[in-house]
């Protein structure tokens, strides 16, 4: 069966490369075009914040939950951010039930780094009692439909959910009014895949499957690079990396606007 898959891969690959030689892609996009992004904030009322993001047909639901817990010993005055990804088997025939596999862990960690390193949330505001009690901020990324490029869709849904989050002071501290969590920065990731020598912004499902190398670059509203993750067995040249950073900055700006206005 795997042998057939290999053959199918080869066919897909030549087809994609032939189109790309003319600057085209299977779904009609240009090489540097992202699929349409749509953001629906506040999808789930039981969450402190939530958003559903679609990137083409990739469909991701993120819920933010907040609980009271203990800080890490080495940061007694900061809340705790926990990012988790569920690649539920409903989203793809390739996902299986069970504990998160390396791909889900990588995805969660890359999204987490983007948010954490950009200081998206003021974690010091989430300290209730130094060294004793802080807010735990759970970002739960639930993939509903996988059609390529989970890194970016997860990042968009997570960021949108954070902008939509109310700190549940009334129910969890029993006293006071819920206030918006607030977001200080807007880290936006853009992923570019390489097939042969060609770069594809926002890889589709088919492009994801046959890509040689992948680079996710997260930039903030100032255009600074805040996180990067290279994946897969292929390689990039220095020039390609620099070009991808610039593509990420350009595309990221548009997405940031979409998220803000959603």
């Amino acid at each position: 069966m795997l042998e057939m898959t290999e053959a199918v891969h080869e066919l897909t690959r030549s087809h994609i490369l032939r189109l790309a030689a003319a600057g085209k892609r299977g779904d009609g996009r240009g090489l540097e075009d992202q699929r349409p992004v749509s953001i629906q904030k506040g999808f789930v009322e039981t969450a402190e914040g939530s958003a559903r993001a679609k990137l083409g047909n990739t469909d991701i639901l993120v819920g933010v939950k907040m609980e009271i817990g203990q800080p890490y010993p080495d940061s007694p005055d900061r809340g705790v951010l926990i990012t988790n990804v569920e690649l539920t088997p409903v989203a793809s025939p390739d996902f299986e039930s069970g504990p998160p596999r390396p791909a889900a862990i990588e995805l969660a960690r890359v999204v987490d780094r983007g948010i954490r390193e950009t200081e998206t949330v003021d974690m010091e505001k989430l300290c209730i009692e130094s060294g004793e009690k802080v807010w735990l901020l759970f970002i739960d990324i639930h993939v509903l439909d996988y059609h390529g490029n989970l890194f970016d869709a997860s990042n968009y849904a997570a960021l949108a959910a954070l902008t939509n989050t109310l700190v549940p002071i009334s129910s969890k501290l029993g006293d006071g009014k819920d206030i918006p969590l607030g977001v200080l920065h807007y880290p936006v990731s853009v992923t570019v895949s390489k097939i042969g020598d060609i770069l594809f912004v926002d890889p589709s499902l088919e492009e994801d499957r046959i890509a040689d190398a992948r680079l996710t670059v997260t930039t903030d509203e100032d255009g600074h690079v805040r996180a990067m993750q290279k994946g897969l067995e292929g390689s990039f040249t220095l020039d390609e990396v620099i070009r991808i950073i610039s593509l990420s900055q350009k595309t990221g700006k548009k997405v940031r606007k979409t998220i803000l206005e959603a």
């Binding site: 789930v44 009322e45 409903v90 793809s92 025939p93 759970f138 739960d140 439909d145």
Partner: protein
């Protein structure tokens, strides 16, 4: 001290204005996921449910294959943020039990003999939970099975009934479930009224149960209509898409 809520008012109406035998509003949309072979999204009161179906497909692990027919498996899952206190991801004992009985309910309608050694995998994701999630999930998944083109003798429709402050009521919401005296999830094959899922906890007399089961069966038949309408809308869309495609060609 827990303040006793008044769940049924002097006119016999419930907190959300429903009559004892009235269902919460239900909306179903079929064919909402692209990757799954069939899918349905359902809103039932405040419940939000996504169901998806894959199959018939080669069954893994192999030792679970049945050479005589397809096996039907179900995974009922509450998303971590679907409830007030975050639920740890992954199956707990409650969802394992629900997955088991729901899977058995679907097995009773699927014609599995046509697909030996395969599995039909049903996934129920509770995105937002009020009470009655297992009935909502079964109702949605049944539409997803039909959307996937799985041959079945009929859909399965599900609804709970119970007893709240002395009164038999249909389709309990969260408050009613928490403070009520009994909860009875029920799933039937609407055409034949066969009972394919039945659970109960609380306290009921035989007479109350008998009355409740009758009301529950009627409610499942109402739900059946909503399921069929969702499928009709879905087929209309598919036909339209096919025509468009042909037009393109």
């Amino acid at each position: 001290m827990v303040k006793k809520l008044k769940l049924i008012d002097s006119k016999g109406l419930r907190m959300d204005g429903r009559k004892p035998d009235e269902l919460r509003p239900i909306k179903i949309e079929a064919g909402v996921l692209k990757r799954a072979d069939g899918s349905a999204y359902l809103e039932w009161g405040k419940n939000k449910v996504m169901a998806g179906v894959y199959g018939p497909r080669e069954c893994h692990p192999r030792h679970m294959q049945n050479p005589a027919k397809a096996i039907v498996r179900c995974r009922y899952n509450m998303v971590s943020f679907s409830v007030d206190d975050r639920k740890r991801p992954g199956p707990d004992r409650r969802s394992t039990e629900i997955s088991k009985v729901a899977g058995e309910a679907f097995s009773s309608v699927v014609f599995g003999e046509q697909f030996p050694r395969t599995s039909i995998d049903v996934f129920i994701e509770i995105l937002q939970a009020d009470a009655g999630t297992r009935c909502a999930g079964i109702t949605a998944a049944s539409v997803a099975l039909a959307d996937a083109g799985i041959p079945m003798r009929d859909l399965v429709a599900a609804c709970a009934f119970g007893k709240v402050q002395g009164k038999m009521v249909l389709d309990l919401d969260k408050e009613e479930d928490n403070y009520g005296e009994a909860d009875v999830p029920l799933a039937i094959i609407p055409r034949t009224e066969e009972i394919v899922l039945l659970q109960m906890d609380g306290s009921l007399t035989t007479k109350e149960l008998q009355q409740g089961l009758k009301t529950g069966i009627d409610a499942c038949k109402q739900i059946y209509q909503i399921q069929k309408e969702a499928l009709k809308r879905r087929y209309a869309v598919i036909l339209e898409e096919e025509e468009t495609t042909e037009g393109d060609a």
